[in-house]
Amino acid sequence: MTAPPALRPGRVHEVGGPAAWAFAAVQAAQGRGPVLWLREAWLAEMPNPAGLAGFFDPARLLLAQTRNQTDTLAVAEEALRDGTVPFVVIDITQPLGLTEGRRLQLAARDGQATGLCLIPEGAGSNAAETRWLASPLYDPAPPSGGADSTLMRWELKKNKSGTSGLWDVRWDAATHRLDVVSPPGERPQPAGPPG
């Protein structure tokens, strides 16, 4: 099994689906340096630092609360162009136009920073480098026997410089590693009781 391709630096990517936040957290965990998370202040859902701690150190996280999407995009452009923060997560609430998407790409190219937009369903921009769909999967046999399964299906639906694909992955919080799991049909079934 090949691992899912890493996000190309200097570009802006998109991820949607119910497990988009976990996707962002895994990507942040694989980098170093501060992580900037942009969200509109009125949104009900809040990143939980105690939950993020399973992926990366929450001390790396900077949270910017904006009034509306215009501010979010302006701050995102500023941060990407600056390049001090290597990974910027942008919580998008309305569909992005081609102009906005392209501006973000140019800013990311200038600052060599990676941007990741969390998009609602069907709100992607054509300017995105890759578009992922992340959805959680029910894990009938989690490795540690229960409580912390993070089995997800990552589907690469659009890729400007490569092929698309589909991976089932699981985040290992103890070793901070992403394990690729075989697709369901080929998965080893739990062995029956001997005899």
Binding site: N48, L63, Y138
Partner: protein, 484 residues
């Protein structure tokens, strides 16, 4: 220079009142007179009297609450004013100033002319003052408090001799004891042998006497002038282009930063005031994420604010002030270290802050609570450092939201097999729990009025892993977070 009625004079200056006047201050469980006007004093009122008694004596007494910090600020202002007579001005208690006028009296035309000038100016300002001038600080204090006037050079002993012993700045018990011994005046004290007095009252009495007579030196500690970080640039012709204003700001910044550097401090909040030809003025405020004094780094941060300003018919005066400065000691120059990275991040936070407000760039700090929404604090990133360890005994969800009720098929303390949440039909595949969390009764929180909660992690057959809780005291199931 003694201001016997500093507080009430200040209050009357701000708002004059007819008739007797007093300032009330709560001391020893009663409202007492803190300071009173001369008219009130003539009616028999005195300091420390309760306000109830004072009103009984004098029904038409006007009173206001006392403002001690305001009074000390006013005294500091008077100290600044007094530097017009001599550079060496110190505070003396809460209602006095001490000036070292040595070598400065001839500027006012002699000692008596100096005192007359002071008295006239202060009277015009509505302040009652008592002045004393002598060779030593102690003697001047005694004169100001007990017998206004000037002690001629070398005749301090003659002037002080008839004054009561309290003129030596002694504590009340010591004064009482001396009076009981028959030593009423300073003169009597001077005539008494020193050794028995020192044995009886300790060295402080003799020290005060020597200070008054000028045998022991006593220093005046002048107030250090707070550094002022304000700079102005006036232009002969109005300007309007952004580049021109930026160039003007650059000049001001160079001078301001040099001043900051001399004081080893950095600016935290900068205010650029642009005055237009038509006298209207606009202020561009720049709040920095960290103290800074590097003009090359600060200047680009002003661009956004200056571009937004309206030049109108042109700007003819620029004024730059660091309204908040913080200590910034010099650091060792390294090639590329964490310090450099931090500076770049501070710059970015400042730039983002000019757009969305500096307090909206935040970071999480761990807090000591089991309540999920109180297990972290959100602090402005510019005013906090990342610190503390994140430990959670149980897995916590990645996203957290306000509890949302679910409609379950069979309500009960056990997790429902099937339920609807956000218009999705979900079926429980695995439930891990419960983890009981009780409300913090010492904090009032409306969200926790339904009592204790049993938290479960519910893995649904559809894939989503939810953080749900059941409230046994008010049966119901809610979703508060999601593990993805």
């Amino acid at each position: 220079m003694w201001f016997p009625r500093l507080a009430s004079d200040r209050s009357l200056r701000a708002r004059p009142a007819e008739g007797p006047f007093a300032l009330a201050l709560t001391q020893e469980n009663a409202e007492r007179i803190h300071c009173l006007s001369a008219k009130a004093e003539r009616l028999g009122l005195q300091r420390g009297m309760t306000m109830a008694d004072a009103r009984a004596y004098c029904p038409d007494l006007v009173s206001r609450p006392a403002d001690l910090p305001g009074d000390s600020r006013f005294l500091a202002m008077l100290a600044r004013w007094a530097t017009r007579y001599c550079p060496w001005v110190g505070l003396d208690g809460a209602d006095g100033l001490v000036l070292d006028v040595t070598g400065a009296t001839h500027l006012a035309g002699g000692e008596s002319a100096l005192l007359a000038d002071m008295r006239q100016r202060l009277a015009r300002a509505g302040l009652s003052v008592r002045l004393g001038l002598a060779d030593s600080r102690g003697a001047a204090w005694a004169l100001a408090h007990w017998a206004e006037g000037i002690a001629p050079k070398g005749h301090v002993r003659d002037v002080l001799a008839p004054l009561p012993v309290a003129a030596l700045r002694l504590d009340a018990p010591v004064c009482d004891a001396l009076r009981r011994l028959g030593l009423q005046t300073v003169g009597a004290l001077m005539a008494t042998p020193r050794a028995p007095l020192a044995r009886r009252f300790g060295p402080a009495l003799m020290q005060r006497l020597d200070q008054a007579l000028g045998d022991l030196p006593e220093a005046i500690s002048p107030q250090a002038e707070a550094p002022h970080y304000g700079i102005r640039l006036t232009l002969p012709e109005p300007i309007g282009r952004t580049e021109d204003v930026m160039a003007g700001t650059a000049r001001l910044l160079d001078r301001l930063c040099a001043r900051l550097k001399a004081q080893d401090s950095g600016a935290r909040v900068l205010e650029l005031t642009l005055r237009r030809v038509d006298q209207a003025s606009q202020t561009v405020e720049l709040r920095l994420a960290g103290p800074m004094r590097d003009p090359a780094r600060i200047l680009p941060l002003f661009r956004r604010g200056i571009e937004a300003a309206d030049a109108g018919f042109g700007i003819d005066q620029l004024r730059l002030e660091a309204t908040l400065a913080e200590p910034l000691p010099p650091e060792q120059i390294t090639r590329a270290g964490p310090a450099r990275q931090g500076a770049a991040l501070d710059d970015l936070i400042t730039r983002i802050g000019t757009r969305i407000g500096l307090e909206n760039v935040q970071r999480f700090l761990p807090a000591d609570s089991h309540i999920p929404e109180r297990s972290f604090l959100i602090a402005p990133a510019a005013f906090s450092r990342p610190e503390g360890a994140w430990v959670s005994p149980r897995p916590r969800p990645l996203r957290l939201f306000a509890p949302e009720p679910v409609t379950a098929t069979a309500p009960g303390p056990q997790p429902p097999r099937q339920f609807r949440w956000r218009r999705m039909a979900l079926a429980t595949a695995r439930a891990t729990g419960p983890e009981r969390i009780t409300p913090e009764w010492w904090l009032e929180d409306a969200a926790w009025h339904s009592g204790l909660r049993d938290y479960w992690r519910i893995d649904t057959r559809q894939g989503r892993a939810l953080w749900m809780f059941h409230t046994p005291q008010a049966p119901g199931w809610f979703v508060q977070g999601e593990f993805a």
